[in-house]
């Protein structure tokens, strides 16, 4: 994947670029909105990572300009601002996702991966599979190795979400957003307890573990 990071804070920018490179991505890093706009219009990228507060041209204007010129590259906004209003204005300007500082690298990486492969979420399969697990979305039945597993509606939704994004990390906040439509970080480990209940049903009784914990990031079902 080819990524462009537009971030004026040196430490943060270098950290993002290094982390993404370590994951095997090709990363360009620029410091100002002007440079970012030039870079984004002259080369093709898979995802743009744009800070909201940038010198010369701010992040919102930059993305609006790109969208006005027909550039549809997915954009992840980074910001120290955090209110819902700011999030909405960012999304309205043409941003695709939003990450509030301070953030963990795992969160950023998972969201970038999700943006780069966005259309995958729209797959029209009716039976999802991972290893010996089978999920029938129409009959609303789950079985593993031929053994029927009874799931509560919410557990079903979480499993479906992870299966549809096989191989990709889903962070706690991404799950909160998609499953419960919640856009703040609860203090309690609410997502962890939901996952552990799901695991108790689909992983515990079996030999191999399907839902993997990615340290410092989230959860993933291996492809």
């Amino acid at each position: 994947m080819k990524l462009l990071v537009i971030e004026d804070d040196e430490t943060t920018g270098a950290f993002i670029a290094r982390g993404l490179r370590e994951e095997g991505q090709s990363v360009d890093l620029v410091r100002t909105g002007r440079d970012g706009l030039i870079q984004a219009t002259t080369s093709a990228y898979d995802v743009l990572i744009v800070d909201r507060m940038l010198p010369e041209i701010d992040g919102l204007t930059l993305v609006k300009t790109l969208r006005g010129a027909g550039n549809r590259t997915p954009v992840l906004f980074l910001t120290a601002l955090g209110s819902v209003d700011d999030r909405i204005s960012g999304l309205n300007a043409g941003g695709d996702d939003y990450l509030i500082k301070p953030f963990a690298f795992g969160e950023l990486s998972a969201r970038v991966a999700a943006l780069a492969r966005r259309p995958a979420a729209l797959e029209q399969e009716t039976v999802l599979r991972a290893g010996d697990l089978e999920m029938d979305l129409i009959a609303r039945r789950v079985s593993r190795g031929g053994v029927q597993i009874d799931l509560l509606p919410r557990e079903f939704a979480i499993l479906e979400h992870l299966l549809r994004r096989k191989g990709r990390v889903q962070t706690r906040t991404m799950l909160l957003e998609s499953i419960w439509d919640i856009r703040f970080d609860p203090m309690t480990n609410v997502v962890e307890t939901h996952i552990s209940r799901l695991r108790a049903k689909i992983d515990k009784p079996f030999e191999t573990e399907l839902i993997k914990t990615v340290r410092g990031a989230g959860y993933r079902i291996e492809a």
Partner: protein, 453 residues
């Protein structure tokens, strides 16, 4: 009606008007009574003079027979209701249109008509002895009594318009005065309630002194708004400027943790430093969010919110985590509670704060109940627990920013949770109450009655 009149009755212009009405009435009454007495007296004098003159006419008759003839002739054409003539001749025979009788109470005029023997009304009488007989001439006082009625009419005719005009003028002035007072009082109320954008403004038709007061209030409000905005801007700037360094420290710690050759001890310190930093970041996030809600225009994000769905989602989200800490989350949702206008995300966060508070500050086995009711046209959201509760003296304090109860110092938490709840409640114009759940704490949020639109 009486509720609407009560404040008007206390107003100055109406009291003045009522006072004037009483004064006018007393003066009119006295002057009319005086002129009535004068008129009555001169009427009586004229009547007496008339009677004396008539008596003199009879006196001119040469003998009793002539008097009797005169009386007989005149009585025939005289209505006894108006004037009575009675002559008792020396030979005890009677002439006239009525008779004079005497009993223990005095003299009476008695009608000669057998059907209605008594003559009503009072008379002014003159009696004289003429040629051995007794002649009585009496005139009815009914004209004088009619005069009293005339005067009463005059009194009524002159007083009623006076009272009406004075009262309606007073009411009008009182009403206008009340409107002016309300305009100023309403603005002051809004300012007191934290709406610093409230202004009295220029009201058409206000006199110089009222406009002056309005202007001064507006000046005061502008100054207050500016200083509060400045304070908010500073705190928001501080939060922004601190977030970037927090991010940098987090980056450095991450780099450190990525290097594999760390002694176990150092790694332990590193992990607790990362945890602390995360907590600092979240406190700053909350402070920034509260500052933004208080200063910005957050109502722009308002949309109809289904509180029942919010409650169910919250119970669903926290159920498993609460079960792990030995808490039981239940919901009690009345059907048909209308949607409220609000910010779903902020309201969800408010609910989450209350549930997390209950989980954190109550022991194992505590019930946490989320309820939604519809009372007096208002949606009422409640989060109650059966834990130790909050001392009633502390209920105001716990809504303060960064305030923590002594009993909860040992537990995790930022001291921002309930402050956030009160800020979000205020944003939604919802009344926030902390009550004793006997045992435990009951937090309830009463939304403003749904507008019919």
């Amino acid at each position: 009606m009486s509720e609407r009149l009560a404040p008007l009755l206390r107003s100055m212009p109406l009291r003045l008007a009522l006072g004037l009405v009483v004064l006018f009435s007393v003066i009119s009454l006295i002057s009319l009574a005086a002129s009535f007495l004068v008129t009555q007296r001169s009427f009586e004098q004229a009547m007496r003079a008339d009677l004396t003159q008539r008596m003199a006419g009879f006196r001119a008759a040469p003998n009793a027979t002539a008097v009797a003839a005169l009386v007989k002739a005149e009585a025939r054409v005289t209505d006894p209701e108006r004037m009575v003539l009675s002559y008792l001749a020396p030979n005890r025979s009677h002439f006239g249109n009525a008779a004079i009788a005497r009993d223990d109470e005095g003299y009476h005029i008695v009608s000669l008509d057998q059907d209605s023997p008594d003559l009503k009304g009072r008379y002014l009488a003159l009696t004289a002895v003429l040629h051995g007989g007794q002649l009585t001439i009496a005139r009815s006082r009914s004209e004088i009594e009619a005069l009293r009625g005339v005067f009463l009419n005059i009194l009524g005719l002159s007083l009623v318009p006076t009272i009406l005009i004075a009262l309606s003028g007073g009411l009008y002035l009182a009403h206008r005065g009340a409107r002016n007072v309300n305009a100023i009082a309403g603005t002051l109320d809004r300012l007191t309630n934290g709406d610093l954008q409230a202004r009295v403004g220029m009201v058409e038709g206000w006199s110089g002194d009222l406009a002056d007061i309005a202007d001064r209030i507006d000046q005061m409000a502008r100054a207050q708004e500016a200083s509060v905005a400045a304070i908010r801007q500073v705190s928001s700037d501080i939060a922004h400027d601190l977030k970037t360094p927090i991010q940098r420290v987090s980056v450095h710690l991450q780099d450190l943790s990525d290097s594999s050759d760390l002694p176990t001890d150092a790694r332990r310190h590193l992990e607790s430093a990362q945890k602390e930093l995360e907590a600092i970041g979240s406190v700053f996030g909350s402070l920034l969010q509260i500052a933004q809600i208080e200063s910005g225009s957050p109502k722009s994000g308002f949309a109809p919110v289904d509180l029942a769905e919010l409650l169910r989602t919250c119970a669903d989200l926290y159920g498993p985590a609460a079960a792990e800490t030995g808490h039981d989350v239940t919901t009690e949702i009345s059907p048909d509670v209308p949607l409220v206008s609000g910010d779903r995300n902020l309201l969800m966060q408010l609910l989450a704060n209350l549930v997390e508070n209950a989980m954190r500050h109550t022991p194992d086995g505590t019930q946490i109940r989320l309820s939604l009711a519809f009372r007096d046209g208002s949606a009422v959201l409640g989060v109650s627990d059966t834990g130790p509760g909050i001392p009633s003296a502390e209920t105001d304090n716990v809504l303060q920013r960064l305030y923590r109860l002594d009993q909860s110092r040992g537990t995790p938490g930022s001291g921002l949770g309930l402050n956030f709840v009160s800020v979000v409640a205020r944003l939604h114009d919802a009344a926030l109450h902390l009550d004793d759940n006997a045992p435990g704490l009951r937090v309830s949020l009463t939304f403003p009655p749904a507008q019919t639109s």
